[in-house]
Every structure is written in structure tokens, then in C-alpha cells.
Amino acid sequence: MSIFVITYFGLLIGVSCLAAYYEKRSAFLMLFSLTLVSFVLGIVGGTGALRSVAIGAGMLAFAAGVSFAFREFLVAITPPKLAKEIKTAPLTASFGMFVIFTYAIAGIFAPWIAPYGESEVISSAFAPADANMLLGADQLGRDMFSRIIYGARNTVGLALLATMAAFFMGATAGLLAAVKGGWFDQFMGRFADVIMSIPSLIFALLMLSIFGPDITVIIIAVAIIYAPRVFRLTRAVAGNVVVMDYIEAAKLRGEKDGYLIRKEILPNSTAPLVAEFGLEFCFVFLLVAGLSFLGLGIQPPTADWGSMVRENATLISFGEITPLIPAAAIALLTVAVNFVVDWMLFRSSGLKEQ
């Protein structure tokens, strides 16, 4: 029994007793089950396992602290009306916002933040980390850290563009279908059904094999694949608005379809559409990352997270975690967007699951 193990269990049991005393039921349940799990983990994995649990808990606490501070910061700098909304955000949502904010900064100011250029060869292949290179060099001797920063611009930028293309196509078609109805509505609906019954990655691979891996092709392919999902949602949301009396009134006034869509339908269906944009972005981002992992996305030497994982994968067999960092960057952003979307869905639709 080392001092670490004794402090570990002492702290856990002490804090769970405190939680029980002050009748914080959920905190107590979590802490005590963590204690029980730790007993098993300690027996199976030894001190090392407990140490990683402690590190994990420390990181969680740190993330919670950062998100809390970031939420307070947002509350302080936004106008009172928005601040009131942000105050109700759960910690997960403000963590998500913080991550998105960081990525945006990294992407926009990449050339100033990154110490080296994205395709600048500065040392030998797979050189270990030193004072110059935070994360070491990649398979051609380029600085990993700089490439990750540039990746925030390239990978996220591509996914964002593709999502916007998909969203524009899907939302326009959906709104038109809702307003026009009739054969147009029927046709678009069937068309969306067919596209959605092809697995997205497979469809993307088919298109890339024909038109070659090129950024425009990727954007168009993603737009075609994901537009039907946006179409369905927009059609459903707008369909509920179209039957309202005020639309009828506007139609009797002789307003055109364009006016109906812009002035009457869109303002009344923004909330679900914004949430859908976030969700679509996650799907698109994962698809684009998967494609570039397969070597069919953004082509070298442009820095891109998916292909960076693939190119440096050999390092994993030496027990290095560097190739996992770009992959973790992908996962972190997707989680962050999901957290924010969760909160927005909850807030906008009043969707309170029991």
C-alpha cells in the first residue's frame, strides 16, 4: 500500500461521506460507485490503473473549471438578454462552446500561431519532441504541432464548406417543397429516399473514384449525400408552419413564394434548423475525416488531420501517442459540437424528456 493508494481511497471515501451528510444524492452515488469500481480496478490493474483514474478525474475537474470560467466570461461580456440564456447552459454546453472557440482561433490565426509552415521540412523523419518542436516531427520531418494547427483551418474549413453546401441545397429544396407541394414535393421526397438508402461513405467513395479526390468533388459529394437529411427536416418543420393561418393570410394578400419563405416560414423555423446544422456538421466532419484517412480527402502536402493519422500510424507500434493527437482533435470538436447542439435542442423545442 503506497501513500498514493491510501490518499486515493481516503479522499474518495471522505468526500462521499461528506456528500451523503449534506444529502447530495447524485454526487454521493457517483463517488461511492467510483470507490467500488476502484477496488476492483486496484486489484486487477494495480496502482497504475488507479493513477490513470486519478489523472482522468483531475482532467475532468480541470475541464469543468475551464467551462465554468468560460461561461461566466460569456455572461460578463454579452448583452443582458443573451447573458440570461447563457446562464442556463449546462457545463457540458459551455465546454463545447469553449472548444469551438479555441478551434476557431486556431484555424483563423493559424499562420501566426504555428511556429513553422505546414509543409516546411525542418528536421529528420519522426524526430522526437524537443524545445523547438512541441510534438516532434512527422514522417517527412515536418513539425507535428504546426501541422495540427493548420489542420484546424484545412479540415474544419472543408467540413464547414461542405456542410453549408449541403444545408443550402437541402433547406432550399425543403422550403420549396413545403410551399409548392404537389408533384414537386412528391418527387423530391422519393429522390431523398433513394439517396438516403445508400450508405454515405460508400456513396462518397463511388463519386471520388469517378471524379478523383479533389476538394470541389468532396464538397459536391458531401452536399449530395447530406442534403436529403436536411431536406427531410426542413420539409417537416416548414410543413407545420405552412398550414398556419398567417401563411394563408399572406397567400391571400398575393405574396410570392420567395416572400413566404423568407419572411414567414424561415423566422418561425430557425431554432430546429440551427440545431440540425450542428448535427449535420458532425456527420460531415466525420465523413471528411474518414475520407482523408483513406487517402482520398485533402491531398498532401496540405496539413489534414485524417491523413496525418494514417501517415504517422507506424509510430503507434512503438508505443507513441503522437499519431492519435489529430484523431483526438477530430473527436474533441465533434463532441463539443454535439454538446452545444444537445443544449440548443433542449432549449428551443422545450423537449424535456420526462
Partner: protein, 318 residues
């Protein structure tokens, strides 16, 4: 009974039409190539004679509709023509790999389905407690991670550091079944992690939806014990959503399998698809896409048919 049968037939017919439309898309998409397949194979420097000879050999001089019908009638009996790159028959390359892929997917499904449904029901019953929140965050993280991220983490910890499982899932003919399971454990586990998260969330949503219905509240109010509420009142109606969840996620497995096969160098059909795409071997790409799409549609069809068959309202017509 006639009602159910006609519903199912309608659904099957609809699935068949979808598959037909998809085969048209897959075939005619290649026709959109700038130039044609012969041009793409031989490249820019090809002479007119060479192009003409290759067009003759590949039958490109016939009208597209005729070639489509020939391709489709071949595909129905498993004949997808010959690979442009190697000249081998596509079917002989793909068949074995497709079986490997099905094995991997089945391996993952056998672990994931019972596990995910049990967990999903438990989380639904414990909703809004700490466990539910923790499960929510964990499953969300798992869903948000690209498959290759999970795959490499598993390789790093279970293969490189702990040396429990091989990192590369190569297969050979003389392996025993246990050896096979051991060899393919990591790719299967990666798929299990992704699919379990999806399935748990969907099961949870379906069960919570169900528990909110008035007849469950009625059963509770009249004093039925909780286990009886679940077994007698909730479960018969829960089968449809649960079958739906399972089939949808198996369909999801079909896509996830491509990336996982590449990470673990597993000799499956996803790997051949990726290879064929980078070599622009169109007959192989078309064949793989058709097989993936057909499996996807079949599973979605199974979900719908299962939902129809287990719907108590349809089984006991008034």
C-alpha cells in the same frame, strides 16, 4: 393475417424498386466520367487505335442501356465482369472477402446487441440519475470519435502496451475457430464500441418514449408491481422499436466496417473497395458499392418487416 401479408409485400416491392434505382445510379454515375472508361484506363497519352481496341474489348461501343442490362443481369447471378487492373473476375476476388466482412460484422453484432440493449434498458429505467448522465457523456464521446481513433487507441493499449491481441488481423486458412476469434478481436471490439453507443442511445430513447405513454401510467396507478409493468405492458410494445434499433445499427456497421478494415488490415470487402477506388478499378467499385447498398437496404427492410410483424395492433386486428 391478410393485412400483414399485403403490408410486407408492399414493403418488399418498395425495397426492390429502391435497389433497382440504386443500381441505375451506380452504373450510370460511371458514364459521367469525363471521356469514358477506356480513356480513364489508358490515360491521356493513349493512341486512337488503342482506345478503339479497348472499347471493343470492353463492349463500350454498345449503347449504355444495353450495357446496363447486361451488367445487371450478370450482377443478379453474381457475375460482375472483370477487373480493369488485374483482369481477374471480380466475383472470385470479392466473394471470399465479403464472407470475411460478414464474419467480422456478425462477431461484433453478437457481442454488441445483447450488451447494448441491456444497458439501454437499464439507463432508461435510471433516467436522470448520475449514471444516466455519465452514460450519456460516454456514449456521445464514443459516437463522436472517428472509428480509426478508437481502433488505434485499442491497438496502442491492448496490442502494443499489453500485448494481449495482435494489431494486424490477417487471416489464414488453417486457423482454428478460437484463433480466428482472437485474431479478429480488436477490429470487432472497435465496431462494438461504436455500435453499442448508438444502440444504447436509441434503445434508451425508445423505452423512455414508451414509458411515457398513458397505458403505462394506468398500469402503475392501478398498483401493478414495477417488474410486471415492464414485462407485461411495456415489453410487448417495445419489440418493434428495439428490432428497429438493432437493424438500423447493423446497417450502420456496414459503413463502419470499411474504416476498421483499413485500420487493422483485415482482408474484407471494404478494403477491396478502398483499393479499387484509389486505382480507379470501376468494375470492382461498382460491384462493392452494389453489395454494400444491397446489404444496407436488406437490413432496413428487415427492420420494417420486423416492426410490422411485432406490432400488436397489427397482429390482433379488431
Amino acid at each position: 393475417m391478410g393485412d400483414i401479408a399485403s403490408l410486407i409485400f408492399k414493403r418488399l416491392g418498395y425495397g426492390l424498386i429502391t435497389l433497382l434505382v440504386i443500381s441505375i445510379i451506380i452504373f450510370f454515375m460511371v458514364e459521367l466520367l469525363p471521356g469514358d472508361i477506356a480513356q480513364a484506363v489508358l490515360g491521356q497519352g493513349a493512341t486512337e487505335e488503342n482506345l478503339a481496341a479497348l472499347r471493343e474489348e470492353m463492349g463500350l461501343n454498345k449503347p449504355a442501356v444495353v450495357r446496363y442490362l447486361e451488367w445487371l443481369s450478370g450482377a443478379v447471378v453474381g457475375n460482375f465482369g472483370e477487373s480493369i487492373v488485374t483482369g481477374e473476375r471480380v466475383s472470385s476476388v470479392i466473394t471470399e472477402r465479403f464472407i470475411n466482412t460478414l464474419f467480422l460484422a456478425a462477431y461484433a453484432a453478437v457481442i454488441a446487441v445483447p450488451f447494448a440493449i441491456t444497458l439501454g434498458v437499464i439507463v432508461a429505467l435510471l433516467r436522470n440519475t448520475v449514471f444516466d448522465r455519465v452514460a450519456n457523456v460516454l456514449t456521445l464521446t464514443s459516437i463522436s470519435s472517428p472509428e480509426f481513433f478508437l481502433g488505434y487507441i485499442l491497438i496502442l493499449y491492448l496490442s502494443v502496451k499489453a500485448q494481449m491481441f495482435p494489431a494486424i488481423a490477417s487471416l489464414s486458412a488453417d486457423m482454428t475457430f478460437l484463433e480466428l476469434l482472437h485474431r479478429t478481436f480488436l477490429p470487432a471490439l472497435t465496431l462494438v464500441l461504436v455500435v453499442t453507443a448508438h444502440m444504447m442511445r436509441m434503445t434508451r430513447a425508445a423505452i423512455i418514449n414508451l414509458l411515457a405513454s398513458p397505458y403505462i401510467e394506468m398500469a402503475r396507478l392501478k398498483g401493478t408491481p414495477p417488474w410486471k409493468v415492464i414485462v407485461k405492458h411495456a415489453l410487448p410494445n417495445a419489440w418493434a422499436p428495439i428490432i428497429n434499433v438493432v437493424a438500423l445499427n447493423l446497417a450502420y456497421l456496414i459503413t463502419g466496417v470499411v474504416l476498421v478494415e483499413v485500420v487493422f488490415v483485415y482482408p474484407g470487402i471494404g478494403q477491396s473497395l478502398v483499393d479499387a477506388v484509389s486505382k480507379r478499378d470501376f468494375p470492382v467499385v461498382q460491384a462493392c458499392c452494389l453489395i454494400f447498398a444491397a446489404t444496407f437496404i436488406l437490413l432496413n427492410l428487415a427492420a420494417d418487416v420486423g416492426a410490422i410483424l411485432t406490432n400488436p395492433r397489427l397482429r390482433h386486428p379488431k
